[in-house]
């Protein structure tokens, strides 16, 4: 079972550095991955759609978590960076013969460059001030999306055809599912390992105390910019996937609301936890669907108050988030760990 010895009995560095400490957790994660690959063969389009949006949200939230959770820099412009990725992908895909699997990381690189540019103020600005500076990035980029018609197609948006890989057209929820899943796994693995490297540890040190980090010889500015770059790369990949899923992108997709949604994913899931990004993405994507489902069903039983239910639904969204922050301030990831700890000792919890 999932027991680890009390005390440190590891005999090699490899064992010490392993992500999954026990065979049991390794088996669990592999079987979970296998299950996710089998799932689409049994699911209908609606559930596949939910999964696909969750994949995109996970990648975006993981990126924001690297910036906000691990490096401690607040960003209110994540939605716009996702937009940059989407438009960059559309532009590259329409103007070259590259396969979309190559276009996606390229779009990520473009977004990383843009993100690093908007990260420059982070040298002098901290906390709230930085969040306002990134908010400016949000509005500047949104303005750019509307005006730069030669790149973005302006208000009517950017179109691409359904992409294809090895002769298979990615034109359905079913086929996109696999693309999304594989990208999610790669991006999460990369993020997990990034946190374990020197760079990742420097991020943590900047978050915890940037003065101490600087005193230890860390070039804080350089690593803040790197953090912006990596986080924007993730946003770019998420945006590019979003484009190839929808095949049309308009400026209305990347409003301030999207930025706030990603921020709430990171906070509800758990700051500084990749597992938290996953939980947060799943939660924020499913909550409106769940509330809509509940409101639609309730209003069929009590048709006279249809509009009241619609309004209650909007309020419920807010209340759920407030309750979360009150009762579980460290996010869903923390709750998950508590549940795991409970079962570890069960039934002899004392």
């Amino acid at each position: 079972m999932n027991y680890t010895n009390c005390g440190n009995f590891k005999t090699s560095y490899i064992k010490d550095a392993a992500i999954f400490q026990t065979k049991f957790s390794l088996i669990m994660i592999y079987s979970f991955i296998v299950l996710t690959f089998i799932f689409p063969f049994f699911a209908n389009t609606y559930y596949l759609y939910l999964c696909n949006t969750i994949f995109i949200a996970i990648i975006g939230a993981a990126g924001l978590n690297i910036l906000t959770g691990f490096t401690g820099l607040i960003s209110l412009g994540h939605g716009a960076f996702i937009g940059v990725g989407a438009y960059a992908a559309a532009y590259i895909f329409n103007n070259t013969d590259l396969n979309f699997l190559i276009v996606i990381p390229l779009a990520g690189l473009v977004t990383a460059a843009v993100g690093m540019f908007f990260g420059i103020p982070s040298l002098r600005l901290k906390g709230l001030y930085l969040s306002i500076a990134t908010l400016a990035a949000q509005f500047i980029l949104q303005f750019f999306f509307v005006r730069a018609e030669f790149i973005t197609g302006g208000v009517s948006g950017a179109f691409v055809n359904f992409p294809s890989v090895f002769g298979v057209s990615i034109n359905s929820d079913f086929s996109f599912y696999f693309v999304g899943l594989i990208f999610t796994i790669i991006m999460l693995l990369a993020a997990k390992n990034l946190i374990r490297t020197k760079t990742g540890r420097i991020f943590l040190s900047i978050r915890d105390n940037y003065i101490a980090a600087e005193a230890m010889g860390v070039n804080v500015f350089k690593y803040k910019i790197i953090s912006f770059g990596i986080s924007s790369f993730y946003a770019g990949v998420a945006g590019a996937l979003w484009l190839f899923y929808l095949t049309i992108i308009t400026p209305e997709h990347f409003t301030i609301g999207v930025s706030i949604q990603y921020l709430s994913m990171v906070i509800i899931g758990g700051l500084g936890s990749l597992l938290g990004s996953i939980f947060g993405a799943v939660f924020i994507t499913l909550l409106p669907e769940f509330l809509r489902f509940a409101a639609d069903n309730l209003s069929q039983i009590y048709p006279a108050v249809t509009s009241a239910f619609a309004a209650i639904r909007e309020g419920a969204f807010g209340i759920v988030i407030i309750l979360f922050l009150l009762l579980e301030p460290e996010g869903l990831a923390k709750r998950w760990n508590l549940i795991k700890a409970y079962w570890k000792l069960w039934p002899y919890s004392h």
Binding site: Y46, G157, S172, L246, E252, R313
Partner: protein
Amino acid sequence: MKRLLLVIVMLAIFSGAVFAEPIKIGALFDLTGGTADVGKPYAEGVRDCVRWFNEEKNGIDGRQIELLGVDYAYKIPQAIAAYKNFMRQDVVAVHGWGTGDTEALTKFVSRDKIPYFSASYSEHLTDPDKAPYNFLVGATYSDQARIALKYIKENSEEDTAAFIYNDSGFGRSPFFPDAENYAKKIGVDVVDTEIVGLKALDATSQLLNMQKKNPAYALIQETYMATSTILKDAQKLDLDTKFIGLNWTFGKTLIELAGEAANGFYGTNSFAMWNQTDVEGIKFLHELNAKYHPDVKYRAVNYVQGFSSMYVLLSALEKTEGELTGENIKAALESMKNFSTMGLTAPVSFSKDSHKGVTALKLYQIQNGEIKSVSDYISAD
């Protein structure tokens, strides 16, 4: 036991014959989002039309219509989720709402071959090459702007105009490049463009700017709120410019918001108004409302919009030959020529080359707090 089984089997067969499967139609409504003020009456119009077909006309070929209405709160991801949910439930057609979500769904709709009506009158949704399954009932924003320009050309001594819009897809869509090009073509000078936000409470600086260029007319693409701000500020500044608003600026709500300042304001509107009781369709809607909603005395023009749009869609289903597949419905729609909506709009025509249902509209003016039509149907060319 055997007899019981026989009874059950007979019942099953019998009920199957009598209660044919309902026809499912998906609908996206905005009841709580950014455009809920016009979205709510629109949704009621759509619902009443379905109810009328079900109760009075016994559905379509004896099959009841089931409307799967979803409030998507004007959010694109929720619209896509709702659409996927419709597909799961095998709808034959969808009635959508806003510009952003309709555009986001265009590719899916074409792939799934689902006829898709929307309340967004953006012109690029009407090109059958790019959006083969999208249809509009109502003149496009670009056509509305063209018709307004044509009216200016014919009725004003000075051929100068300004554009006032909000800086979004919805706001820019009629003017750039369509109305701009058309103005050049017919010889109307566009002397100024001004941006006023949808929720603006002050437009003085923009109007002062515009005053320097002194255009004879200004076209407005906003919703009620910004329009009332513009009209009130224009009255304050005593401007000579006359204002023509596109369809979402115009209605009784504007009179309530702007009061006196609304007098003299023109609106382009392809739908009949509630007080035009000489129109057959309006008379019919009065009767229908007296029966379904006895306490409702007034309906916004958006109700008429929703009703007529659904009416065209359901009539196309009635005309469809063979099974109700997307392709057959599309063929039925494309064969609609001068279809009468009981006068609620100009006659509706679709063809293989154009999915603009209506290309003609009337200009209306607010005179002493009353909405009066000031022109006959003018068509955009």
